[in-house]
C-alpha cells in the first residue's frame, strides 16, 4: 500500500546526548560536558568579547553599553512577568530613580562612581519597591497600568516642583574615567544578573515565585505571604533597572527627565518577546538584536517605533515562542517522520 502523508506524523524526541547530559554522564565525559557548557560559554564569552571585537568602532562600543542597560531591564521584566506574574511597565521609573540617585550622590556629596553606583542600585531598588508596595495586590493588566503611571508621574513631579535641576536635569556628573570600566561593569552585571536569577528560579524561592504566577490563591492557602514574594520580585527587577540608570548617568555625565522615558519601559518588552519569554537569556539576546537596529534607524526619527511595531507583530504572529525557546528545542530535540 502506498504511504500517504496521512499515514505519517512527525515525531519529536530528545537527543541522546541531551538525555545523557541530564544524568550523571554530564560530569564524566567530555562530549556531554561540551554539550552542556557550549551554549553557556558562547553566551558568556561572546558577550565579553564584544567590546574587543568592536574596539575600532568606539561608537558601537557605546551602543553595546546601551544594549547592556536595556538587557538589565529586559532580564528584570522577563523575570517579573514570566516567573512572578507581574507585568511591569515601570522600567523607565527604575532607570530614572537609579540615574537621579547616582547623580545626586555624586554632585551633593562628591562620592565617586565606585560608591554611587552600588548605593544607587540597592537603595534605588528599595525605594522603587516601597513605592510599588501599595500596587502589589493588583494583578495582570491593572498592575501594568499602575506601573506605567510611575515613570510618567515622576517626570511631571520633577518638572512641576522644579527640584533636582527641573527640566535642565543635573549636569556635570563625574564619568567612569576609563571607558573599559564602563563596558565591563555593564557586561559583568548582565551576566551576573542572568545567572543569579536563573539559579534563584530553581531554588525553593523560585518555586514560590512560579506558584504566585500560576495560582496565587493556592499559594496563599499554603500559608505563604504572597505580598512578600511579589515585593521581592519587584526588588530584583527594580535593582537591575536602577543599576542600569546609575551607569547611564555616569556614561552621559548627566541625569535628566529623558531617563524616565517610556523607551525604557517598552523596549525591554519587545526584546523579551523577540528573545523568548521566560528564558532570561532570550531577553538579553532580544536586546542585542533590537537596540542596534534601533541605532541604525536613528536617521528615520520616530519612524523607528513603526519598525519596532512591525518586528514585534511579526514575532508575536509567526514565532510567539521567541528565538531562545525555538533554539533550545532545536538544540535538545530532533524530529523524524514515523508511520502511525
Amino acid at each position: 500500500m502506498a504511504e500517504t502523508t496521512q499515514d505519517r506524523r512527525k515525531e519529536r524526541l530528545d537527543r541522546g546526548i541531551k538525555v545523557r547530559t541530564d544524568s550523571v554522564y554530564a560530569i564524566s565525559h567530555w562530549q556531554e560536558m561540551t554539550y552542556m557548557l557550549a551554549p553557556r560559554l558562547v553566551f558568556i564569552l561572546g558577550l565579553l568579547a564584544l567590546p574587543l571585537i568592536l574596539s575600532f568602532f568606539p561608537y558601537w562600543q557605546r551602543v553595546i553599553s546601551i544594549v547592556c542597560i536595556y538587557a538589565l531591564l529586559a532580564v528584570g521584566f522577563d523575570f517579573l512577568a514570566n516567573h512572578v506574574g507581574l507585568v511591569s511597565l515601570g522600567g523607565g521609573f527604575y532607570v530614572g530613580v537609579g540615574a537621579y540617585m547616582a547623580a545626586l550622590l555624586n554632585l551633593k556629596f562628591g562620592l565617586p562612581p565606585v560608591v554611587t553606583v552600588p548605593i544607587a542600585t540597592f537603595a534605588g531598588g528599595v525605594f522603587c519597591t516601597l513605592l510599588f508596595l501599595p500596587c502589589l495586590p493588583l494583578r495582570g493588566v491593572y498592575f501594568a497600568i499602575v506601573s506605567l503611571m510611575f515613570p510618567l508621574l515622576a517626570g511631571r513631579v520633577i518638572e512641576a516642583l522644579d527640584i533636582f535641576g527641573g527640566t535642565d536635569g543635573l549636569l556635570g556628573v563625574e564619568s567612569f574615567g576609563n571607558p573599559w570600566v564602563e563596558r565591563y561593569l555593564l557586561i559583568g552585571s548582565v551576566l551576573v544578573a542572568v545567572f543569579v536569577l536563573r539559579r534563584l528560579l530553581i531554588e525553593d524561592v523560585g518555586l514560590v515565585f512560579r506558584g504566585v504566577k500560576d495560582n496565587d490563591q493556592a499559594v496563599k492557602a499554603s500559608a505563604i505571604n504572597i505580598t512578600v514574594y511579589k515585593a521581592l520580585g519587584v526588588y530584583f527587577a527594580s535593582t537591575l533597572g536602577c543599576l542600569g540608570g546609575a551607569c547611564l548617568t555616569h556614561i552621559y555625565m548627566w541625569a535628566g527627565l529623558s531617563q524616565f522615558a517610556l523607551d525604557y519601559s517598552i523596549i525591554p518588552i519587545a526584546a523579551t518577546v523577540v528573545g523568548g519569554g521566560g528564558t532570561l537569556i532570550g531577553s538579553v539576546l532580544g536586546c542585542l538584536i533590537l537596540v542596534p537596529i534601533s541605532e541604525m534607524l536613528r536617521d528615520f526619527g520616530t519612524l523607528r517605533i513603526a519598525v519596532y511595531a512591525l518586528i514585534l507583530t511579526a514575532f508575536i504572529v509567526y514565532k510567539s515562542e521567541g528565538l531562545m525557546n525555538y533554539g533550545a528545542r532545536k538544540y535538545e530535540q530532533f524530529e523524524r517522520w514515523v508511520r502511525i
Binding site: R9, K10, R12, V317, S320, E321, Y326, I340
Partner: protein, 248 residues
C-alpha cells in the same frame, strides 16, 4: 447519522485517542464512559473541531504538536477539516466540559450569544423551550452567569448549546460535580431534549450509572482506546464494566 471512524490523536508522542470509532444515529443518545485521562474530552474536542483550534494555538506557541487522523462523517459530508464554527453551522454543537459559561453576562445574554446562528423566530421559540425544560433559568434570567450555582450553570450551558439549533449535540461531562438530585433532573432533561427536539446526543461521563438508563449505545474508553461497546443492557451485563463503572 454522525460517524467517526478510526480517530487517532497524538499529543506530541503521546497517543491520546487510539483508533476510536463512534457512531450516533439521528435520534440516539450515545454514552462515552471512561476514567480521567481516558480520552473523553479529547474525543469531544476532536468531534466538535475545537481540537483544530488547540492544535493551531500550540503550534504558534511552539508547544505540543497535535496530530489528528481518521474521518468524521456527518450526513455523508466529511467534517474532519472543518472549523468548529462551520461544524456548528452544520448542526454539531459542543457543550464543553466545566460549562464555560460567560460569567459576566446575564443568563439571558448567555443564551442569546448561543443563538447567533438562528433566526429570530426560532430564537424566540427555542428560548421558550429552554425556559420550559430548565424552569429555574427563567426566574434567574437577569442574574449574572457567574452567580449561578453549579447545577444552574450546567443548565445554562446546555441551554446555550440548544440555542445554536443543534442536530447533533455533544455534552462533555454534563454531570461533573453536581449533586445526585440535580444529576437526576439533568439526565431527565437530556432525554427530553432528544425526544422533543429530534436532537442526537453524545454524552461523556466518568461515572456511568446516572446516564446509563437513557443511552441507546455506549462506548467505554480506556487509555484512549475503545475497549467495550454495546447497548446499555449489554454494558450493564458485562461484569468488568459493572465493577469499574457502577461501583458494584
Amino acid at each position: 447519522m454522525f460517524e467517526a471512524r478510526g480517530l487517532m490523536v497524538f499529543y506530541e508522542n503521546m497517543l491520546a485517542l487510539n483508533n476510536v470509532s463512534v457512531a450516533c444515529g439521528a435520534d440516539q443518545i450515545i454514552g462515552v464512559f471512561g476514567a480521567n485521562s481516558a480520552g473523553k474530552s479529547t474525543l469531544m474536542y476532536t468531534l466538535s473541531g475545537i481540537m483544530l483550534d488547540i492544535q493551531k494555538k500550540e503550534e504558534m506557541a511552539g508547544g505540543e504538536r497535535i496530530t489528528m487522523r481518521g474521518e468524521i462523517i456527518y450526513n455523508g459530508r466529511d467534517m474532519m477539516r472543518l472549523k468548529p464554527s462551520e461544524r456548528a453551522k452544520a448542526g454539531i454543537v459542543l457543550c464543553p466540559e466545566r460549562r464555560r459559561i460567560f460569567p459576566e453576562s446575564t443568563v439571558l445574554e448567555n443564551l442569546m450569544i448561543g443563538a447567533y446562528l438562528a433566526d429570530s423566530r426560532r430564537t424566540a421559540q427555542t428560548l421558550e423551550y429552554v425556559f420550559t425544560i430548565f424552569a429555574p433559568l427563567k426566574r434567574l434570567s437577569k442574574r449574572l452567569g457567574g452567580f449561578l450555582s453549579g447545577g444552574e450553570q450546567q443548565m445554562l450551558a446546555i441551554g446555550r448549546a440548544l440555542m445554536a439549533q443543534p442536530k447533533q449535540l455533544l455534552l462533555d461531562e454534563p454531570l461533573l460535580g453536581l449533586s445526585p438530585v440535580v444529576q437526576y433532573l439533568l439526565v431527565k432533561s437530556i432525554k427530553e431534549i432528544r425526544d422533543q427536539r429530534n436532537t442526537a446526543i453524545i454524552v461523556s461521563e466518568q461515572y456511568a450509572r446516572p446516564v446509563m438508563p437513557i443511552i441507546d449505545y455506549g462506548y467505554i474508553l480506556e487509555n484512549g482506546a475503545s475497549v467495550v461497546a454495546g447497548t446499555n443492557r449489554e454494558l450493564m451485563d458485562n461484569p468488568d464494566v459493572r465493577s469499574a463503572y457502577f461501583g458494584s
